[in-house]
């Protein structure tokens, strides 16, 4: 159930990013005479100070926010897989060095590092912002994957592959990696959430590319256009809501996967306790259902 809702939310936003701009067709940066209008039939989500349509901006912004999120998560995950699997497989000194490196990046505060790195970028385009976010976002995945690799490498099929003379590279990426795909997928999804949040934070500070419309830059302009003081809630509520919804969708999918792996986490079952009042509650509930 959780997974279904989560996937539903993700499909909705993916469609918005892919097909939305084609359906709407309008220019998100186009200004008009109707500044700071609340939601109406002409502008479903109202307009900004300069009369830009907020719904159009949300739809176009989804491309940048999702694009940066997915791109930097892909880069970070590739790196995490390489570091985690190589360290976990070889063990020894290689593993020590890679583990320390991973733990260092895990402890260092990511957003301040991203802000500092972005401060040095001569041009803050979508790709360079994605790379900067990826630099700080790989460590968690690497740690999880290393732990998983440690347990997988002792299994029979890995031993068999080594005994039959396969090289280390082949064993790691063709024998171990496919087994870890579910773990890689969950770590990828979690990284997408973190990357979307980081991009939004960076744009909100005006440190990403402000000439392209993203949800973060919408919030930047809302804050700088005094949307709060004017009471233009329709300007800053939708972008934040979209970010939170995407994060919720990704988290639901991840939690759903966790629950399949660990059935105790499920909410549906009432824990059968030995106390009489709990037992009577359970029977009362059962009666109510029938």
């Amino acid at each position: 159930m959780k997974i279904k809702i989560g996937i539903g939310i993700l499909v909705f936003f993916a469609l918005m990013a892919l097909a939305g701009p084609l359906l709407i067709g309008a220019d998100p940066a186009a200004t008009s005479e109707d500044g700071l209008q609340g939601p109406s039939a002409a502008h479903w989500l109202g307009t900004t100070q300069t009369g830009q349509d907020i719904l159009t901006q949300i739809v176009y912004g989804s491309r940048v926010s999702l694009g940066v999120g997915v791109l930097s998560a892909v880069i970070a995950t590739v790196f995490a897989v390489a570091v985690g699997l190589v360290g976990g497989y070889f063990g020894g000194a290689v593993d020590e060095v890679l583990s320390v490196l991973t733990n260092i990046f895990l402890v260092l505060p990511a957003l301040p590092l991203i802000i500092v790195l972005a401060g040095y970028l001569p041009q803050r385009g979508v790709a360079s912002v994605a790379v900067v976010i990826a630099v700080t976002g790989w460590a968690w995945g690497a740690r999880v994957l290393r732990a998983q690799t440690l347990s997988v490498r002792r299994r029979d099929f890995v031993q068999a592959a080594r005994a039959s003379g396969e090289g280390a590279f082949r064993v790691i990426f063709f024998e171990i990696l496919p087994v870890l795909l579910p773990v890689i997928a969950t770590s990828f999804l979690a990284t997408v959430v973190a990357a979307i949040l980081a991009e939004a934070g960076l744009s909100f500070l005006g440190l990403a590319d402000l000439s392209t419309v993203s949800w973060g830059s919408m919030l930047y302009f809302a804050q700088n256009g005094q949307a709060l003081l004017i009471g233009a809630w329709w300007w800053f509520i939708p972008p934040g809501l979209c970010i939170a919804l995407i994060g919720t969708g990704l988290a639901l999918v991840n939690f759903g996967i966790d629950e399949i792996a660990n059935p105790r986490l499920r909410t549906v079952k009432v824990k059968a306790k030995a106390t009489p009042e709990a037992a009577s509650k359970v029977t009362a509930k059962a009666k109510a259902r029938t």
Partner: protein, 326 residues
């Protein structure tokens, strides 16, 4: 105490890595920071500032290794260079003025969020299948909400619309800073909304994390045994299940600190709170590289210290880490 010694060693290593990263970033990123600054200001920059900046970075004609040694030497003397924004104030002075605000705000808010979130997680795991499960979807949603958006929403509702709380600064314009009740009251009043932002935005992770560990712990044999012995629910919940479930929770809390600090940086900016986050933004906006890097270093070291405190708590709560040393 081998556990603590090992952790301390790791933090020292990480501190060294942060320092080295700080040294390497301006050299590895495309473009010379000094020339970038001059170009962006179209030459309208004080030659003294350029010189100060070169010195702050240790950029000289010497070899890279010599520059690195010089840089470490400066750092050992607490020399972080001069700020461009507040020229000729030392970066260390700017940081010393703003750090107490951040430590106070973020420290208290994080502690509240941790205690309340963990307690809620314990309760939700214990009372699974009751109305408390309704908190789960809300927590899942809050887990992904950007800090600064929570801040904007709170400003809008409680600051602008209802006008219950001030929306910027750390204390009122009409009070003099000092050890007076009036000043303390003003500080607390102004910290209310930023603190609530951090608590609300960071609590969901604690609730969900604690609930999941706790649910797993509740299935352990010793919990069933405690229940079978007829111990009170409260005793089983807190002294048997929660006490064990809290250990992984502390580890994940320590790892999430960097994320909380990042969110707090954004929160401070929304509220124009005079802490280190607002200073970091000022530094970036003004191409004030010495200030930016000084702040990054201080934030990193603060997170390391907080991590070490979490390790200390771990040692207190888990007797096994103490026995290893014997």
């Amino acid at each position: 105490m081998r556990f603590l010694a090992r952790r301390l060693g790791f933090y020292l290593l990480t501190a060294w890595a942060a320092v080295t990263l700080n040294f390497l970033i301006p050299r590895l990123m495309p473009g010379d920071p000094v020339e970038l600054l001059v170009a962006r200001l179209k030459g309208n920059v004080d030659p003294a500032a350029i010189d100060a900046m070169r010195r702050a970075f240790g950029i000289s004609d010497a070899g890279l290794w010599q520059q690195y040694v010089d840089y470490l030497g400066n750092l050992a003397h607490g020399e972080l260079g001069r700020s461009i924004t507040f020229f000729p104030t030392e970066v260390s002075t700017v940081i010393a003025d703003s750090l107490p605000w951040t430590v106070g705000l973020v420290g208290v808010a994080t502690l509240i969020s941790y205690l309340v979130g963990t307690a809620l997680g314990v309760l939700m795991a214990w009372k699974r299948g009751t109305w408390l499960d309704g908190v789960l979807p809300a927590a899942t949603f809050m887990h992904a909400v950007p800090y600064f958006w929570v801040a904007l929403a709170l400003v809008f509702v409680f600051g602008v619309t209802l006008q219950w709380f001030p929306v910027s600064r750390a204390y009122g314009l009409d009070v003099m800073p000092g050890f007076t009740g009036e000043f303390a009251g003003s500080v607390l009043y102004h910290a209310a909304l930023p603190a609530v932002t951090i608590v609300v935005a960071s609590m969901a992770d604690r609730i969900l994390g604690m609930r999941n560990v706790m649910v797993t712990t509740l299935g352990e044999d010793y919990v069933v045994m405690a229940e079978a012995k007829g111990l009170t629910s409260r005793r089983v919940m807190w002294a048997y299940a929660a006490r064990n479930a809290i250990l992984p929770n502390i580890t994940s809390f320590a790892l999430s600190l960097g994320f909380v600090v990042g969110g707090s940086v954004l929160t401070e900016i929304v509220f124009s709170y005079p802490g280190i986050g607002s200073m970091l933004l000022k530094g970036v906006e003004n191409e004030d590289f010495p200030l930016m890097q000084g702040i990054f270093l201080v934030i990193s070291l603060a997170v390391l210290v907080a991590n070490f405190l979490a390790d200390l708590a771990y040692v207190v709560l888990d007797p096994r880490t103490r026995q290893e040393s014997e």
